[in-house]
Amino acid sequence: MTKRVLVIEDEPNIVEAISFILSRDGWAVATHSDGETAVQAVLDAVPDALILDVMLPGRSGYDILHDLRAHDLTRRLPVLMLTARGQRTDREQAERLGVNRFMTKPFSNAEVVDTLNELVPG
């Protein structure tokens, strides 16, 4: 069965890059670029994994993660957070909110793919 990942990211070039490398690895990729409607998008899509940017228009990735963890459907959803603000406090906040993996931009394509495969084995 094809593993499905939802990418929430507002930077079009980055969305295109992530979509490309994950599709190439066999993932079904869906994308969303707005913060405010992100939670609903996740609930609608019910992906196997989520890639979440922190700085999004409308709502921050942290808020979105917080809501997702409060929801039964997405309590255990594997989440990989990507941020361009590579400060220690950011990682700590993400981990407090229950993120599964946390990576700073720029990232290594292989690492993103490997991490997702690790989070969603098989």
Binding site: P12, N13, I14, E16, A17, F20, M55, P57, K105, P106
Partner: protein
């Protein structure tokens, strides 16, 4: 042979002579011919009231009984006089500056004009001096009895008491006549002092005459006397001539203390003093007098012991030796010497005591009874004179009664020592008051009362003998059998002579109580004021003037108020009050209302008590002079100035602290901004780099199969690299602008051309966003002189923003040029939805891109750069609220004469 009548006649003649001397002196003083009277010689001789009948008769007896110990009686005063610079000078200066009338007045004045202390000292003085006066009466009576005994000259024993009574009465008359003739402000009595000086000469001449007679007439010259002294020393038990250190020190200290504190000594030393020159001369002249007085004491004693029959009273050797050798004339002279000693002491002592009793006991009682009429001055003066006279009679009556009670049994020297010890109790409070500002009224009272009690318990009461006040059992075993309370062996200290024992304990306990209570109590304002006046008396450049000062002058009050409140405040207050009273100028009438108001104002500066005292002194006219008050007021003023300086400093410090706090806040803000800025930069740099890295890796790993995608990937890398470069350029540009390092190239150019260049530069963006620009070329023909490249950069930014962020369906930008207040205004208004009010304030901040639309291509630095550029060009860029869309106004200062270029 001297008959009784002769004796009485000579006495009377002598007394009449003294009356004449005193009368003459008073007359010449009244005629201001008092130069001789004020001479140091008279002053020195008047000090000889120290040498009473006790010294005249008793010193010989003392020497006959105890050898050289009598010298201590002279040694103490000698030391005090030689060291006058350290103590007496200050005492005399204070006495004159404060117009002190007695030793009780001195302590009362020093300790805040406390009448309570005055009463204590008066009581001590009366109790201590009464035996002394009795002693003088006794000596005169004894002297009469000597003449009566040997010569059956027509008088018998009962007459002896009558003699004492007559003598007392005569002395009272003389003292009243010359001691209370007038109420002099400074209590000086020229007549009395001159008479005493004459008496001083008489007693010195008499004693020297007897001495010369004894040495050369009886003893066979100095050599013979020396042999006689040697023999006397061999014949008497060794103890009598032995000199014991402790007793010597104790007695010398005692005589020195008594010299300063005896009421009569204080009177002649301080009250009658008219200048320090007198003191300087007396400092060597009086010790010389004492030396001459003591020169023949030992020879007379030795010869008396050797030649007179055993059992003769050694106290009367001075009389009995001449009589023994039938030298009636010499005996008469000697008698007059003793008579002089006794009378001068009684006269001065009773004047001094009467002053104290009337001032500190009678007058306060009288004033409290008749407080309403007290302000009538003539009335007070008459009452005071009457009080003085009654006091003199009272003092002499007391002395006579004591003489009757004690029966004349005790040796003369012993009575003298008891008196000395009693009055010496005043010394700690007196010395402390002169040298220690911390000395307080309560301390002085505690020391005086305790010392006086100990003296009475250990020396005075036991002196009445075992049949007197204290029983033999009490003396031997102590009260209720408590051994350590034995009057003559306090705290188990035994083996001391009773006098030394009493001096030791009374002075120790007195001093401890004085110092201890002073340290624990806090002096009141008037006490502090007086304390400063006393302790610092030598620092005051201007000696206080005698006489009274003008009463209740508004000017005095103004001067004082100025020194207390400051000149401006005081003058304002006085002027307001004066005009309220309908007067011109600065000086209002001293109405009760005004006084009350002034007192309230002053208490703001110096506290209520001091303000009250200050006003009371000026208005009431008491012993503190206006000058003294001014000194305090100056001190207060200095403190006010000092404290206002402190306040100033405090304000400065507060301001500095606030500035520092503000600066710190700014720095903290800057630090936060810097963190935020770095975080932003990190984000802005990482975002394009993420795309570049991701697509680079894709290319490295083989790239997209689809050629079109591969091409797009490559162009993304390119675009993002360009974006990065632009970001870095903007950052550098902003940094240069912010640091003020930017180089401006001013050029003269027509505005329309600058706008043309900006539009041309954004042409591709305008075309892609389909933006229409409306301009009024006619109004753009303004020549400007500025860095037009930088100005174009601002225009480009604004046009690009309109193209990128304008959200109207058909984007339109209107550029309007106007002129106002010598400034050129270029408005850029688009037809979009504009910028929300809450965001308008922050759009010029760095990284304040309102949308996160990265496609717009900016890093959010554009408007920040625009603002910096316009700052550098001397103009500004602002957001124009209330327009249809987003609206920016660029303002540029115009040159004075704007040049319009014709179309």
């Amino acid at each position: 042979m001297l008959s009784f009548n002769t004796l009485v006649a000579v006495c009377l003649l002598y007394v009449i002579f003294l009356f004449l001397v005193a009368f003459g002196a008073d007359r010449s003083a009244a005629r201001n011919k008092s130069r001789f009277l004020n001479s140091p010689l008279i002053y020195t001789l008047s000090l000889s009231v120290y040498c009473t009948a006790w010294t005249f008769y008793g010193a010989v007896g003392y020497a006959a009984r105890s050898g050289l110990e009598f010298v201590t009686i002279y040694l103490g005063p000698t030391l005090v006089m030689i060291g006058w610079w350290w103590f007496l000078r200050k005492l005399v200066r204070v006495g004159r500056a404060q117009r002190v009338t007695s030793i009780a007045d001195l302590l009362s004045s020093r300790y805040g004009k406390s009448n309570f202390l005055g009463v204590i000292v008066t009581v001590i003085a009366v109790v201590g001096t009464t035996p002394y006066i009795a002693l003088q009466l006794q000596s005169v009576t004894l002297a009469f009895s000597v003449f009566a005994r040997d010569r059956s000259a027509g008088w018998n024993a009962p007459d002896l008491d009558a003699t004492a009574l007559w003598v007392a009465g005569g002395l009272a008359l003389f003292t009243i006549l010359f001691g209370t003739r007038n109420l002099d402000v400074n209590e000086r009595h020229h007549g009395v002092v001159t008479a005493i000086a004459v008496e001083a000469v008489v007693k010195l001449v008499a004693l020297l005459a007897v001495g010369v007679f004894v040495v050369w007439g009886v003893g066979g010259g100095p050599a013979g006397i020396a042999d006689a002294i040697d023999e006397a020393m061999r014949n008497t038990p060794g103890e009598a001539w032995a000199i014991t250190g402790g007793r010597w020190v104790g007695l010398t200290f005692l005589s020195a203390a008594a010299f300063l504190t005896l009421p009569r000594m204080f009177h002649v030393l301080v009250v009658e003093n008219i200048g320090e020159r007198q003191l300087a001369v007396a400092s060597w002249a009086f010790p010389t007098y004492l030396f001459l007085m003591s020169l023949f004491v030992v020879p007379i004693a030795v010869v008396g012991l050797g030649t007179l029959p055993a059992g003769e009273n050694p106290d009367l050797f001075v009389l009995t030796i001449p009589l023994h050798f039938d030298r009636d004339g010499l005996a008469m002279l000697s008698f007059l010497g003793g008579f002089s000693s006794a009378t001068s002491m009684v006269i001065v002592a009773s004047i001094a005591l009467a002053t104290m009793v009337s001032n500190h006991i009678i007058m306060p009682i009288w004033l409290s009874i008749r407080s309403e009429e007290a302000s009538v001055s003539g009335d007070v003066r008459q009452v005071l004179l009457l009080a003085r006279r009654l006091s003199i009679i009272g003092v002499l009556v007391l002395g006579y009664l004591y003489f009757q009670m004690s029966g004349g049994g005790t040796a003369l020297a012993a009575i003298g020592m008891i008196s000395f010890t009693g009055v010496a109790q005043v010394l700690p409070a007196m010395a402390g008051g002169l040298f220690w500002r911390g000395a307080s009224r309560n301390g002085a009272a505690a020391g005086l009362i305790l010392g006086f009690t100990v003296w009475a318990y250990t020396l005075f009461l036991p002196s009445f003998g075992e049949a007197g006040v204290m029983s033999a059992t009490l003396l031997a075993e102590g009260p209720l059998g408590i051994a350590w309370l034995k009057p003559q062996a306090l705290f188990g200290v035994t083996g001391l002579d009773p006098v030394v024992h009493a001096v030791f304990w009374s002075m120790i306990l007195n001093s401890f109580a004085f110092v201890g209570v002073s340290l624990m109590s806090f002096p009141g304002p008037l006490e502090r004021l007086q304390g400063a006046q006393f302790v610092n008396v030598l620092d005051q450049t201007r000696p206080a003037q005698g006489g009274s000062f003008p009463a209740a002058a508004a000017e005095d009050l103004l001067v004082m108020a100025q020194r207390t409140m400051g000149a401006d405040a005081a003058q304002a207050l006085f002027q307001t009050q004066a005009s309220a009273q309908g007067k011109e100028g600065y000086l209002p009438d001293t109405t009760p209302d005004f006084i009350a108001l002034l007192e309230r104002e002053l208490s703001g500066s110096v506290g209520a008590a001091t303000a009250h005292a200050m006003i009371a002194q000026i208005m009431g006219g008491a012993t503190v002079s206006v000058d003294d008050l001014m000194a305090v007021a100056d001190e207060t003023q200095q403190m006010l100035v000092y404290s206002s300086q402190l306040e100033e400093k405090q304000k400065e410090l507060t301001t500095t602290a606030r500035q520092l706090s503000t600066a710190n806040d700014k720095l903290t803000q800057l630090s936060i901004q810097k963190d935020g800025f770095l975080s932003q930069i990190s984000h802005e740099l990482r975002t394009p780099m993420t795309s570049i890295r991701a697509f680079s890796e894709i290319l490295r790993d083989g790239g997209a199969k689809d050629a079109e995608a591969a091409g797009r990937h490559a162009s993304i890398i390119h675009d993002e690299a360009v974006r990065l470069t632009r970001l870095l350029d903007d950052l550098l540009d902003l940094s240069v602008l912010e640091n003020g390092q930017v180089q401006l190239n001013p050029q003269r150019e027509v505005l329309s051309k600058v706008l043309d260049r900006a539009v041309a530069a954004t042409q591709s963006l305008i075309a892609s966003q389909d933006l229409r620009i409306h301009r009024d070329q006619g109004r753009e023909q303004v020549i400007i002189t500025t860095d037009t490249d930088r100005l174009a950069q601002v225009f480009i930014n604004l046009i690009a923003n309109a193209a990128k962020y304008g959200d109207a369906k058909f984007k339109r930008l209107t550029i309007q040029v106007g002129e106002r207040d010598g400034a050129l205004r270029i408005d850029f208004v688009d037809n979009g939805s504009g910028i929300p009010t809450e965001s308008q304030v922050m759009i010029f901040e760095k990284f304040s891109r309102l949308t996160d639309n990265a496609a717009a291509g900016g890093a959010g630095l554009g408007l920040a750069i625009c603002r910096e550029v316009m700052d550098r060009l001397g103009g500004s860029i602002t957001y124009l609220p209330g327009q249809s869309g987003a609206a920016f106004r660029v303002t540029l200062p115009l040159e004075k004469i704007p040049h319009h270029v014709a179309n």
